[in-house]
Symmetry: D2
């Protein structure tokens, strides 16, 4: 899908007429005021060939609006009521983002009222819209030291009109939606309903995905904290497997559609022999299948360590007559329930190794909650803070129907529609996966498998 400049433009509520409160802060002889130059934009692509492809004058090259404070802003801070909601599964850094938004709004823009809606979009329903948390700098001062979200979260959408009613009833001018794929969809519907009613409410999304599978984002916040923690569990099963005759260590990590956590954690731990991700299908049987490779490793080095993303190998359940591990239906966020590939591999590997006289000591672990509930690490703390600042600047400047993101190490504005248009995945031909192959020494593929295209459709 080719993107044109117009696809990357962000909607604005109107003309910016108020002076930014930063004018004073920055007017010293040491620093000239740092405002974003309106005409400047961050390039979408990073290579010469991509650039060449466009054959466009620089002013028409696909590019994003840079985030940051503007000299003039759209809302009068004295009159603003802001709302914040966190949606979907936990992710390190949620509290840091909340804290950053609140501090920036209250301390620098002097916004007086900030409401925290509780338990995700459920907090924007008529039944719960009055049960908000008053957010002040004092209230959020230390919340970044804990994982989770002080606002609570939940999965599942709500009626857009009912949510807009809540914003109107509570007098909200700016809503910050911190959420994943579901949250970005909801923000899009909300924006549409607001626009249709002709309301003057800005909706700014802060994309959250522990799987790092949202597009137009270098790396999503919390991702580094998450894969760092995942590394510990790879070390754990590695220690276990190495200490047992025919030890087999398996760690199932997050990653419904994208194997980023599995890939990065495997590179960091540097202890995995095999990494399995949704982007690369694999076969169990056959001489070049997974089971034969596992057997060879157990024979040669005495044990094997496997890291897999939860979304890997989803085509295997019916094929191998193990439907009991298959998922059923969808969860509250509308995600298809995944089959339990960890349990399937555990059973198949145990059966195979036992059959060939290498009854294994099986060490399987699924750390799940233990990863996503931790506090943000130092890097993510900085990242979340700056992302939160960018979100506030965008909203105060009247941007709406937009997300803030980091692209090629620059903070930018991305239209919400783009955020839900595709998925970020590990490129099987790219250098990240190449490094995984180099480090694990696993073969580029296991056996004869169906075409990738069939398997990895974005549902």
């Amino acid at each position: 899908m080719t993107l044109h400049l117009d696809d990357l433009r962000v909607r604005r509520l109107g003309e910016c007429r108020y002076d930014s409160p930063f004018a004073e802060m920055l007017s010293t002889k040491q620093t000239s005021p740092h405002y974003v130059a309106e005409g400047d934009r961050v390039l979408l692509e990073d290579t010469v060939s991509m650039l060449s492809g466009h054959s466009l004058p620089p002013g028409r090259v696909p590019s994003f609006e840079a985030a940051g404070p503007r000299r003039k802003i759209y809302f009068d801070p004295a009159d603003v009521t802001a709302g914040i909601v966190t949606c979907g599964g936990l992710c390190p850094g949620l509290n840091n983002v909340i804290r950053g938004i609140v501090q920036e709004l209250a301390v620098h823009y002097k916004v007086k009222q900030i409401l925290g809606f509780r338990n995700g979009l459920q907090g924007l329903t008529a039944a719960h819209r009055d049960d908000t948390v008053e957010l002040t700098p004092e209230r959020v001062r230390d919340i970044h030291n804990a994982g989770g979200t002080i606002l609570g979260s939940s999965r599942g959408g709500q009626d857009a009109d009912e949510m807009v009613d809540s914003l109107v009833v509570r007098g909200v001018d700016i809503l910050f939606v911190i959420g994943g794929d579901g949250g970005m969809h909801a923000a899009t519907f909300l924006s549409k309903a607001i626009r249709e009613r002709g309301l003057d409410i800005a909706v700014i999304g802060v994309p959250k995905t522990i799987d790092n599978d949202l597009p137009f984002t270098d790396q999503s916040f919390g991702f580094q904290s998450a894969f760092a923690r995942a590394t510990d569990f790879i070390s754990s099963v590695s220690v276990e497997a190495a200490a047992s005759p025919n030890g087999v260590g398996i760690v199932k990590l997050m990653g419904r559609h994208s194997g980023f956590i599995a890939s990065y954690a495997a590179l960091a731990a540097n202890a995995a022999d095999i990494v399995l991700i949704p982007e690369i299908p694999f076969a169990l049987g056959g001489d070049d299948g997974l089971l034969a490779h596992v057997e060879r490793l157990v024979r040669s080095k005495g044990f094997v360590v496997i890291v897999l993303a939860e979304g890997a190998g989803q085509d295997l359940f019916e094929k191998h007559g193990l439907p009991q591990y298959n998922g059923r239906g969808t969860d509250a966020s509308g995600n298809v329930r995944l089959g339990n590939i960890g349990e399937l591999l555990k059973e198949c590997i145990t059966a195979h190794l036992t059959a060939v006289g290498l009854a294994p000591a099986m060490r399987y672990i699924d750390p799940s909650y233990a990863i996503r509930s931790i506090a943000a690490n130092a890097y993510d703390s900085v990242y979340c803070l700056r992302l939160a600042h960018a979100a506030v600047h965008a909203a105060m400047a009247g941007r709406t129907d937009a997300a803030v993101a980091r692209w090629r190490r620059r903070f930018v504005h991305v239209p919400l529609s783009l955020m839900i248009s595709r998925r970020n995945q590990v490129d099987p031909d790219g250098d990240l996966w190449m490094s995984v192959l180099e480090t694990t020494c696993q073969p580029a593929g296991f056996g004869s498998v169906p075409d990738r295209g069939e398997l990895n459709r974005v549902p």
Copy 2:
């Protein structure tokens, strides 16, 4: 200084005639071989306005050669002897880089001999050239779990011709120099001497700087580990200062010319009231000087936390008649010895607060070695590994006189001459420093100070 495409080209020893050993590894139907397309290059600049400025056809836009494996390579791996040397101060990740280089060379390119020269460039002198460590995958298997460098390090350069002699005597075809400003200079001199003698030896630099002050690098390896650790010490003095009447906590962090560690650590800890960096001069006295601001904070919130980079405020020593804290001469790397700004502030603040009846509980800490000696964190582990892979691919493809670096999240080749041409510093008008000001609520400057240009010359 405007850079043209030719400034960014990397030197090559000659034509690549050997097949890459990766051909086989990657030829499966799952993954088409991942080789870098020779014509493709990574853009130097990231914004439309910078692009516009050039008025050039895409093929002439300033850009770097992408790093990664080539279809054809220059050296016959069967005949290669490689050498590795680590120079300068410790930095998290040195062992990871060594390990990554050794594994890539030995496992994938099947290089048989890899020599580790000991204790920095001293190991390349005639007296020490034979005292090398044999580096094998087995030897380096677990070294990434420890900080430091198994090869040892030292400061200071050596005679280039003597070092080239050592390479010839030991039959080295490829030398990897992992080092900072001093190491990159040495690698440049080495390359020049090699070229002058017409030798067929590749020199590849892996830039190392815990201060993040080398140019053309998104962030230097080890930087994230370092500032994460620094954060702990900010928390420590913050706890101390908060628990004492008139508590003053001061942490002196690394950063001779660049305040990156101080800025990032302060953002991550979110506990600092004042951040002082070399890029922003400040005055002590006067109503809008540092001392008055410290006094105001002690009066209003009861304590104050200051984070400073070691290179901050170097103009203050003589001015305030405290020459005893000033540095003298240069160290073995040729760096000017810095004055001890931490001790100076400690004394001046104590004197000032005591004079105004607020005798402080002073909590000053200089963690230095405790930061740079730690093992790399998960992120840096991955980064070092991939950087090491890139360095090996570059060398095997006959690139020389070049460094590997990460630019806009892509691994690229950078001419060594560029690596020593300038310094990466915190932009006082940029969004990083803006976030520091927003987070600390410190004023944009303290008092009347000399012009920045005078103070921050690259020596």
Copy 3:
């Protein structure tokens, strides 16, 4: 069971005739030689009433022999071959104990040959007895930085005579058995077989139990590391539960017969509402049952956090018609397989809360391997080192059929027969459990339950 002095005496192989090599080390004017006074013993009991009960002259009061170096030793170090074996499940500190034994034997007693038998008692069978690891100070220098055991481990016993044959064939004079209940039993059988054959081989046990359920031991090595790590998982489910409407967090921790890890981790995390341990039976139903209490907490504070030991509630499976969670048969160590109380509670609580209109967000985690595979923390590192030293001193002084342990903070010798005579459990009337009740505010019991005696028989 009343213990008399004679029950606490440790067997000796014979008279100690060799001079200890420590004589020289310690003969300085700063320190008078530290040798254990033969006549001195560490009291079994710690209170006046226990002392009174005996009505014995001090010389007959039940007490243990103090561990430590003797002036005269039994074995001539120059002629000694030592063996080490690690048995049973992993536990933090195994490598530290191995390292401490090897260093003490090699460096101070100058023992020349130390054999590591591999994979537990399996390594002492005829088939594997020659596949040993040569243990030297150099080999073990850094092993304490990793969890697990470099020797490998396995469950299950072996034929005592075959194992004695292995010791004879390999010329082993001293065998150190680091193991749990199973390992201590094996060491006892080995000792008996050795004694019956009239062989001059010392067998010294180093008791290992991550559950802290071996007797005559203040706290078993690795226990503190383990419960510290367990604390992280309680925090994780607590964060998860608190962030969800009707959140229920459950952590299943180790503890087949003893709830020490669950109790200590719950006290340390200070986030648990309910702690369930094997020593205290509980009922699910009824007004004062567990389910009603869970419901009350969800209604009042919005979520609930439950910490349970794997051995808790083992009487509930049949009673509640949920036999699918029940265990079957025994594992390789002869332990009865436990029913999965975590899964049972997860299902029962979900059913109950759903039925009363509080459909829960269930957050269940079973960290298992992630706890036992970690490296020892600082405290356990010191403890393991000193325990290892004590084990070596005991063996060199000709003690056999004995374990080294820490009793009332003193290192002592305990007859192996005592080590397997009973189990250490949380005293429901003691101050540890009292502190758990005070901290969780849970009721002293849940519902009407069977008599404890029936449930907690030592199998």
Copy 4:
């Protein structure tokens, strides 16, 4: 000094007439109420020979009163106002103790008013007595996650009568003094003044000493957290020293009179070659002096790591003509200022090694605040909580002029007078120091030194 039973008795305010609120909590059929039996006491000594020495009937053997809840209590909880104050230097666990006391008082005894006096004993002066913090379970819920003390602290005593006035004015019935040597002295003076005025106020001390130098305490709270953290710094200088030619790493740790932190941290890190503590004097010069040993190690292994307690070698300053490093006068707590032994060694070792042609790379670090300001680890969290519970039970039962402590793993009451009667030190002839010698392989002493008795007087 021989202690008799009467020395170990704790003072009581009067007869216990109120029912304990625990009666109800514990009256279930699962647990019989756990109350401390009045007649039972914990033995002072732990060996048979110490027991024999007394030749006393069991009832007269020196022993401590066991801590814990009593069936009857002295104060009517409904009428109690409690106060808490923290004194002296920071130590991990202070907030945990505060939290444990508040929760136990408020939740279980239903005490309604708990006052936190601020900034140590200064908070009990007339000028500050009204500036208290209201302590509630909600207020202290999360404070254990941070180091330091939410009440603030300070050094130095105050007038006892003025402090008693403050207690009377604020209606305090029970004062908890959490503090070190200075705090225990102050508590003693306070108790005396209260007794002289015939007031009905209980004073309970919770001994705090990061140096572990208070007597009658197995290990002081926070000690394990502290030495664990200290271990990191030993690893740091070890990495630094090992990576440099002639590397010398020196870590100066806390320990004015006692070398516990240095000894334990050195055992845990297992990287130190030399440990220097106040209890063992040493000489610098001579063939068997410290400098010659350092030189030998640099020659043989290439580097050396030294761990020292701040109080070590205090006799050396004048002797070596380096008075500039010597301390002067006393600090606010009345402690003699120590000479800076770290700086002295740094200078002497640099001079010596340079003179013999081994110019060292000196790596010296003094982590100080970075150790004492951390949060309590899991073990200390449990310990502090249980100690706090014991303190509350003691106070409610009318004990006064007493400290709570842990003795041979039992919580006991100790008269305050005993707490300040002596100092806990490392026994140069005991097994802890023996293990240090075994692990470091350092000689038992360095050179010819003055008699220990002269040097280590308790001032």
